[in-house]
């Protein structure tokens, strides 16, 4: 079974789901367990606690689940800004 990935737009008070402040994802490898990551300014995925914090209502921001195509579009948006 392939790895499952769920993407989330990070939406703070100045952002919207289509123009988010950041992007996070939860990876569920076929070996079990999960690992959460966020995209940094270098467009690398780094470990993040933000999804877990959001699930525990500890997050400053809201997370909105998005599909892989939308995530790709947002990554391109960030690439144009930061790349």
């Amino acid at each position: 079974m392939a790895e499952e990935i769920t993407y989330y737009a990070i939406v703070d008070r100045w952002a919207t789901p289509s123009d988010p402040a950041g992007l996070a994802r939860r990876r569920r490898p076929d070996t079990g367990g999960f690992r959460d990551e966020a995209l940094d300014r270098s467009l690398n995925w780094q470990f993040t606690p933000l999804i877990v914090e959001w699930e525990r209502a500890e997050s400053t921001d809201d997370l909105v689940e998005i599909d892989a195509d939308e995530a790709e579009r947002i990554i391109e948006q960030f690439r144009a800004k930061w790349g």
Binding site: A21, F34, A38, F47, T48, A57, T60, D61
Partner: protein, 382 residues
């Protein structure tokens, strides 16, 4: 925030509607102000007065994790040696002594009997017998014992190695590095530190307001007050995590908009929870505070409660959580699991087990009557 100006009016209407709806409920309904025979119900005892020590909490409870003792330097991966973060005492009436919120909030067994707490003393002498506890309370107590054992087994299965000391050898002077390798350069560290320091003088006023609200709202308890401040290390960890995940946001914007740098928890029994929530909102607003956000997580698989964000008239953000004794207890019980889940050092497999543990605990928490009727504010736009 859009639509914010309509909220006070909306609140008054909702509060009036709620009162009217409760009046219309059939006598004997849990939320009805009338008994089966049509007589008006007597005032309800304070939640803390009715709490009973759990079977394994008769002694000072060292087995629960403090949800807010978040200083990594004080943080322990073993629930048996978790110290409290000492905070200055501001309570005049001795309701909540520093560093006692786990014991006080959980069992009421160590509540200070001195200084103007007559009603609390009276409540202690009038505690109902265990037989009089509701079925839900009994099942939660059983579940709690089970979860504590489960947590002990988890720790045996996943022993935590001693963390190596944080390596600062290549860091610039004045910078900060956390135990999870979060990093703030010297300038960022200065800004974050200044933001946190600037909150402290304002906190005293906010705490005084919150204490007044607690006095004015019926059936209300204020728990965890000793940990109202987010610790400096945890604050900087969170700032660094957000800075990394939201590269366009400045350090000042992130530091100054941390909603839970100061946080409070109001606690109500399940039967009083919904009324307590609305009464607290009204009272907070009468004290000049403005609610910016309310998130109802009673249907969440990982956490039960309602978290709200407020601004003082002076503009200071702070957080208010609404719990029942059970959901607050669950939050404390799962705190170390939560700490481990969000740590980069946990393995993917352990993280999954921790997640399941939190889900199981959350699923066992009795849900307050009518809590789904409390809508998010502002409504989520998805």
């Amino acid at each position: 925030m859009a639509g914010h100006q309509d909220r006070p009016l909306a609140f008054k209407k909702a509060n009036d509607d709620l009162t009217q709806r409760m009046e219309r409920l059939p006598p004997g309904h849990p939320s009805s102000p009338y008994n089966d025979d049509g007589t008006r119900k007597p005032p309800v005892a304070r939640p803390a007065d009715r709490e009973l020590p759990l079977p394994d909490e008769q002694a000072a409870d060292a087995n629960l994790d403090s949800p807010d003792a978040e200083e990594p330097s004080q943080r322990s991966l073993d629930t048996n040696d978790l110290p409290e973060q000492e905070m200055p005492t501001l309570e005049a009436d001795g309701r909540e002594a520093v560093g006692q919120e786990v014991r006080d909030g959980e069992t009421g067994a160590n509540e200070a009997p001195s200084g103007g707490v007559k009603e609390r003393e009276a409540g202690v002498t009038e505690q109902p017998s265990p037989e009089a506890a509701s079925p839900d309370s009994r099942s939660w107590g059983d579940s709690l014992s089970h979860f504590k054992e489960q947590w002990e087994r988890h720790k045996e299965r996943w022993p935590q190695e001693q963390r190596p000391p944080v390596d600062h050898s290549t860091d610039e002077p004045g910078s900060w590095r956390g135990e999870g390798d979060q990093y703030l350069n010297a300038e960022e560290n200065l800004v974050a530190g200044h933001s946190l320091e600037s909150i402290r003088p304002i906190e005293e006023k906010v705490s005084a307001t919150v204490q007044e609200v607690r006095e004015e709202v019926p059936d209300c308890d204020l728990v965890g007050l000793g940990n109202r401040f987010k610790g400096e290390e945890r604050f900087k960890e969170k700032v660094s995590d957000e800075l990394r995940a939201k590269p366009d946001r400045s350090i000042a914007v992130i530091s100054e908009n941390m909603p839970d740098a100061v946080r409070y928890t109001f606690q109500f029994d399940r039967e009083d929870y919904v009324d307590g929530y609305w009464n607290t909102l009204g009272c907070m607003e009468r004290h000049g505070c403005e609610m910016e956000l309310s998130r109802n997580s009673w249907d969440s698989p990982q956490y039960k409660g309602i978290n709200t964000r407020w601004r003082t008239p002076a503009g200071q953000l702070f957080e208010v959580q609404f719990h029942t004794p059970e959901s607050f207890e669950a939050k404390q019980l799962t705190h170390t699991a939560y700490e481990r889940i969000r740590s980069p050092t946990a393995s993917d497999q352990e993280r999954d087990e921790l997640y399941e543990f939190q889900s199981e605990v959350s699923a066992s928490i009795p849900v307050p009557t009518d809590s789904p009727t409390i809508a998010d504010y502002p409504k989520k736009e998805v």
